[in-house]
């Protein structure tokens, strides 16, 4: 589904991502872990087109997307969430979600001027989509609350819903459980499983190991921008290189 070939990103003298080759399979949960500053978010930024890689190739559904802009990549079916979700706090949750389906609509300025049939139909489609994804993430009851008033966990769910509203094939989740308590984390993990069961491919960055170990089909470990390990949760858990990266070499020896 998504193939990454020797991807490298340099910011001046700093190499944030170095020669990473990996592929994400359809319908799987792929996790990316690594210490802070390992280049995980940069890696996401490269895939989603927010940053241009220094070298390497990104192929999505057989299409080379390496040099595409973020909005073009999104239109092809790559959705993402951010560590912090910027919602318009003065509007309701529902209002915030309507724009999520905008990329699948065509209405432009002249449609607005003449209030065309296409525009009205597309507005309806966007509203329907917003209802649908809100229901999917289990927030229908919060649809008409102000975005400013919802909890951190609900914010995360709204971020998922926004990503889902774009009709993606793959969803990149950047710390979906960051700042959320353990019980709520379980709920979010359930939601991620539900997404995969509905045919989506998920790729996530997370620091909560118990969540990752229970959820991921495959884990890639980044350290200083390099891929140091890849495998199933069981393989990663017992990999000495990973333990060294996380805990320091004395622990690995012990």
């Amino acid at each position: 589904m998504l193939k990454i070939e020797s991807l490298t990103k340099q910011f001046g003298g700093l190499t944030a991502v170095r020669d990473v080759t990996v592929s994400f399979e359809k319908g799987k949960i792929n996790a990316i872990i690594g210490p802070n500053g390992a280049g995980k978010t940069t890696f996401f930024n490269l895939i989603s087109g927010m940053h241009q890689p220094t070298s390497g190739r990104i192929v999505f559904k057989g299409i080379d997307v390496t040099r595409m802009r973020a909005d073009q990549v999104a239109r092809l079916g790559v959705a993402r969430t951010f560590q912090t979700t910027h919602l318009f706090d003065k509007a309701t949750v529902f209002d915030n979600l309507i724009v999520g389906h905008r990329l699948r609509t065509k209405s432009g300025f002249w449609d607005v001027m003449f209030n065309t049939k296409r525009l009205r139909e597309e507005e309806r489609a966007c509203r329907k989509k917003a209802e649908e994804v809100l229901d999917f993430v289990g927030l229908s009851h919060a649809a008409h609350r102000l975005a400013a008033d919802i909890s951190q966990e609900e914010r995360k769910r709204v971020a998922f819903a926004l990503a889902l509203a774009t009709d993606p094939d793959i969803v990149l989740l950047d710390e979906p459980a960051g700042g959320v308590n353990p019980e709520e984390t379980v709920g979010l993990a359930e939601l991620i499983k539900k997404m995969v069961n509905h045919g989506l491919t998920v790729c996530l960055i997370e620091h909560k190991m118990d969540m990752i170990m229970g959820l991921a089909d495959k884990i890639m470990v980044l350290d200083h921008g390099e891929k140091i390990a890849e495998g199933t949760p069981a393989e990663i858990r017992s990999n000495p290189v990973v333990i060294e990266a996380y805990l320091g070499s004395e622990h690995a020896a012990a």
């Binding site: 973020a70 909005d71 724009v99 905008r102 209405s107 300025f109 607005v112 001027m113 507005e123 926004l162």
Partner: protein, 337 residues
């Protein structure tokens, strides 16, 4: 407050604007009001790019001057009829706006603001120095007023006032369409977060440019009206202080709200009038007033109204939810008994 909502609210506001000439004591009051409305149209344009799309354009007055000078030059130098020249005011401002937009919108945040500040100043300098076309510091005098349309003439202060009201209503109606459509939602998404909007598949450059061009067309049309209303022009109109006046209108009225620009320009215009007797000292009163307003009404007057309305609705919704729950609990208790 219910009667202020929806179509009824709009009808009341429109009626107030239409009835104003009956209560106005003299033509001077009509003049102040008409000018405030003209600036409200320009400010509505600025509101689109700055309030809704989140890009602080500090060259906005320059585009108003471009619209005004288009009318001035075409009618005086080339002897075009007024309405033909007026139609060009929006077109010329929009075309120049497009080219300025595709360059300046490559920049973000402060850099965009600083760049457009420079653009505004360059427009001012061009108008001031290009004597042969713009009349330089002398400006353009003897611009004809709006020509009669059929039997309707625009000679009296009242008829000119109504003409301005007409354009204000059309401007606001179009703006209402834009900001409440998918297009408006797209602009607001960009204001909230560039990155998130782009991740949602929104083409930033295309949408920002569209918003910018529309805002400059508003400025241009307002400038065209200004030229036909005031009948003489100086390079001063492109000055940055007009841009900052418009920002003040936005802050006072409510940035990112449909009626904010109107409320702001009206209120500031009248407060300035009432403080006229203080001459140069009026800023000593005006300054603190503005500070108080920003402290106690950070979202402006219209923003304050929306906030209160939203809070009331939320409270109502919460109470309804509570009642529902209570009912459910009662039912259950009844079933158990």
């Amino acid at each position: 407050m219910k009667y202020l909502q929806g179509k009824a609210g709009w009808a009341i506001l429109l009626a107030l604007a239409l009835l104003f000439p009956l209560v106005a004591g003299n033509n001077y009051q009509l003049y102040v009001m008409s000018l405030a409305f003209i600036f409200a149209i320009a400010t509505a344009g600025m509101n689109l790019i700055t309030g809704y799309t989140g890009q602080l354009n500090l060259g906005h007055a320059g585009f108003m001057a471009i619209g005004a000078y288009t009318v001035g030059i075409l009618t005086v130098t080339y002897e075009w009829p007024f309405w033909g020249a007026f139609a060009m005011s929006g077109v010329v401002a929009g075309i120049i706006g497009f080219f300025v937009g595709i360059v300046s919108l490559r920049l973000k945040e402060h850099f965009f603001a600083i760049f457009t500040l420079c653009v505004g100043f360059i427009i001012y300098l061009i108008i001031e120095k290009w004597d042969s076309v713009t009349g330089g510091t002398v400006g353009i005098i003897g611009i004809p007023g709006p020509a009669p349309i059929g039997p309707i003439e625009f000679n009296s202060a009242v008829s000119q006032y109504y003409l301005v009201v007409f354009f204000l209503v059309v401007s606001l109606w179009l703006m209402h369409r834009i900001v409440n459509s998918l297009l408006g939602r797209t602009f607001v998404a960009i204001r909230n977060s560039d990155d998130l909007a782009q991740a949602l598949g929104i083409n930033l450059m295309r949408n920002k440019t569209l918003s910018f061009v529309l805002s400059t067309i508003y400025a241009g049309v307002a400038g065209g009206l200004y030229a036909g209303y005031v009948r003489f022009l100086g390079p001063d109109l492109a000055g940055t202080h007009y841009t900052f006046d418009m920002i003040t209108f936005l802050l006072v009225g409510g940035i990112g709200t449909l009626l904010g620009p109107v409320a702001g320009s009206l209120l500031v215009a009248w407060v300035t009038q009432y403080l006229q007797f203080l001459a140069d000292y009026r800023m000593l009163v005006f300054g603190p007033l503005l500070v108080l307003l920003v402290i106690f009404f950070p979202h402006g007057i219209v923003g304050f109204y929306y906030k209160k309305r939203m809070e009331r609705e939320m409270k109502k919704a919460a109470a309804a939810a509570q009642a529902n729950r209570a009912q459910a609990v009662n039912k259950e208790a009844g079933n158990n008994a």
